[in-house]
């Protein structure tokens, strides 16, 4: 028997506090900066997982292309950093100094027009959120207004992830190609590669993630959140209650994309590069697995799942690199078959009721059994 709703809320708050304490206090104290930086990288995936909880867990829209939005956010950040690293002084050995190195290698002699605005940090920060949202909006309008949903939507988003990778790799003069945008150095003159900067960026990432979780909590707790659940359960009924279902789906898809993009930007800042290997089908599906293992209905669960799996991936692939994919696939199958609500569901549906039973809570907590219909 699943725990009652008020208990779940308390539990979620406890989980939130545990995660906050873990990433803000415990990990920075016990880990060296190299490992902490790795955790920071995992946390950027957790942004995507939070977005997936909103759009997949709550609304039932499975997107297999969240890597696209993660990547777009990351590329917007990388564009700014790359331009700053490509000052005339730094690039004087190039045939055209002052443009990013990969453009020079591709015989481009002038900065393309769409790169120009990324000289401004303000523009870049806005673009990180707005560019992916616009793309999500276009996809959302095209799909949801025509009532394309379910598995078709998943396949189309996956195709978009594939197209985006091909586009980035193919237009390497403008995008850096398969290598991505590398050799990022400073943010407004502040060296992001130093240990001090890594600490600062790690904490910025933590606070942004916690803030995002609060934002997601606010959305889920509002009437809009209940409408999203209603759309997942009975889309038709929502329509016949007078709501324009497509608008709500577009909203949540755009929100999930914008959140993923913030993660992407933090990835670029902490890891120091962005490449198409974080845009395509495989990373997109990996992010869905993070979310599924943690529990797609629970914000805390999804973040915890992301951290655990990413951590596991690093440990496992350090010792058995070729086995990781099999382990991940096996884990995913186990989740789907054995505990479809993920780790969070395992806690709320199995462990908690048992613990309560053991404590004799259940007897006191149990409501009078539902009255039979007269």
């Amino acid at each position: 028997m699943p725990a009652a709703r008020s208990d779940l809320r308390v539990l979620e708050l406890v989980g939130f506090a545990i995660i906050a304490a873990l990433i803000l206090v415990f990990l920075p104290l016990v880990l060296d900066i190299f490992r902490l930086n790795l955790v920071g990288k995992y946390l950027t995936y957790a942004f995507v997982a939070v977005g997936l909880v909103l759009c997949w867990g709550h609304t039932g829209i499975l997107s297999l292309g969240q890597g696209v939005f993660f990547g777009l956010g990351g590329y917007c950040m990388a564009a700014f950093l790359k331009l700053e690293a490509s000052s005339v002084a730094n690039t004087k050995i190039q045939s055209t100094p002052g443009i990013p190195d990969f453009m020079d290698w591709n015989q481009i002699t002038e900065l393309p027009f769409f790169w120009m605005p990324f000289k401004s940090l303000t523009f870049s920060l806005i673009a990180i959120v707005v560019v992916p949202s616009i793309l999500a909006y276009i996809i959302g309008v095209a799909m949801f207004k025509r009532r394309v949903g379910g598995v078709y939507f998943a396949i189309i988003t996956q195709a978009i992830a594939a197209v985006m990778t091909i586009l980035i790799v193919g237009r390497q003069g403008y995008t850096g190609g398969i290598n991505g945008i590398t050799d990022l150095r400073t943010l407004l003159g502040w060296d992001i590669r130093s240990d001090g900067a890594k600490y600062v960026l790690y904490f910025i990432c933590c606070f942004l993630l916690l803030g995002t979780m609060f934002l997601a909590r606010f959305v889920v707790d509002s009437k809009l959140g209940r409408i999203l659940v209603a759309v997942r359960d009975q889309e038709d009924r929502v329509r016949f209650s007078g709501y324009d279902v497509s608008n709500f789906k577009i909203f949540v898809f755009c929100l999930a994309s914008a959140i993923a993009a913030i993660g992407g930007a933090m990835f670029t800042l902490q890891v120091g590069f962005m490449s198409p290997s974080f845009v395509g089908i495989v990373p997109s599906i990996e992010m869905v697995i993070f979310c599924a293992v943690g529990g797609r209905h629970s914000l805390v669960g999804a973040v915890a799942g992301t951290l655990l799996i990413s951590w596991g991936k690093t440990l496992f692939s350090e010792s058995f690199p070729e086995l990781w994919l099999f382990a991940m696939g096996g884990l995913f199958i186990a989740v789907v078959l054995a505990f479809p609500r993920g780790l969070a569901g395992l806690v709320t549906d199995q462990l908690l009721p048992r613990a309560m039973k053991a404590n004799g809570w259940m007897r006191r907590q149990r409501q009078p059994s539902p009255a039979p219909a007269e």
Partner: protein
């Protein structure tokens, strides 16, 4: 001919699915404040007629006017906002939400994305939900998840979700299907209560139930109106007996 006096007017409505005419040049007029029962054998097109009115299925030919406004091209939610509510054959409620939340979501307020995001559960909202829950016999179950309700209670909940919209035209597709005898009596009571101040179209198979509520009955057969009138005259109609009531 003018149809100004009718709340709802279907004229020459035809819909065909791959050549099969589920509804065939149907004419149907509903007055203000009328309770109309539609009966007919399986496949007569009863549910399709409701689907057409509420915009779930598009008409192939003909016109549907609600309060003199052509609604054949409107989207479902636009038709709902004009004041037409629809209950489905199987209980269609939000299983993962509580009874209170089910009713709250059905209130005709805060229907935009922004409106829903900053929705405030005011005293008025609570009072309205309590008022409706009392009518549908669920006032003691407001905090229960809808999935834990019995079948009959789910049917009532869906009726309540429509009532809270306060539609001018209420369409009910088999409201007592699968209910126990005592639930049926209660539902007939409920229907007699809610038809005040509005028009209602009911599709029903259960002839006893029809007799207990019907004002006017329309018999559909093969997508056409076979007979129309009060219960006695319809029951006495030899053609109706032949296709429907006889067995």
């Amino acid at each position: 001919m003018t149809n100004n006096d009718f709340l709802l007017a279907l004229e020459n409505v035809t819909v065909s699915f791959d050549g099969f005419r589920a509804v065939n040049e149907l004419n149907l007029y509903i007055d203000k404040g009328e309770l109309r029962v539609i009966i007919g054998p399986n496949g007569a097109g009863k549910t399709t007629v409701l689907d057409l009115i509420c915009g779930r299925t598009r008409v192939s030919e003909g016109s549907i006017k609600f309060k003199n406004q052509e609604i054949t091209t409107y989207k479902e939610q636009q038709i709902v906002r004009l004041g037409i509510g629809r209950k489905f054959q199987t209980p269609t409620i939000y299983e993962d939400l509580t009874v209170f939340e089910n009713l709250e979501l059905s209130m005709p307020l805060g229907r935009s994305v922004v409106g829903a995001l900053f929705w405030d559960r005011t005293q008025q909202v609570k009072e309205r939900v309590h008022e409706i829950s009392e009518m549908i016999f669920l006032k003691d179950h407001l905090d229960r998840l809808a999935q834990t309700l019995s079948h009959g209670q789910k049917q009532w909940l869906e009726i309540g979700m429509l009532l809270i919209q306060d539609p001018e035209l209420l369409m009910l597709d088999e409201p007592v299907a699968g209910m126990s005898v005592s639930e049926r009596v209660k539902t007939a009571e409920l229907l007699n209560e809610i038809i005040k101040n509005r028009s209602v179209i009911v599709i029903e198979h259960d002839m006893k139930f029809v007799e207990s509520i019907a004002h006017r009955v329309t018999v559909l057969h093969q997508g056409k109106v076979l007979a129309e009138g009060d219960m006695q005259s319809v029951q006495a109609n030899p053609r109706v007996k032949e296709v429907y009531l006889g067995h």
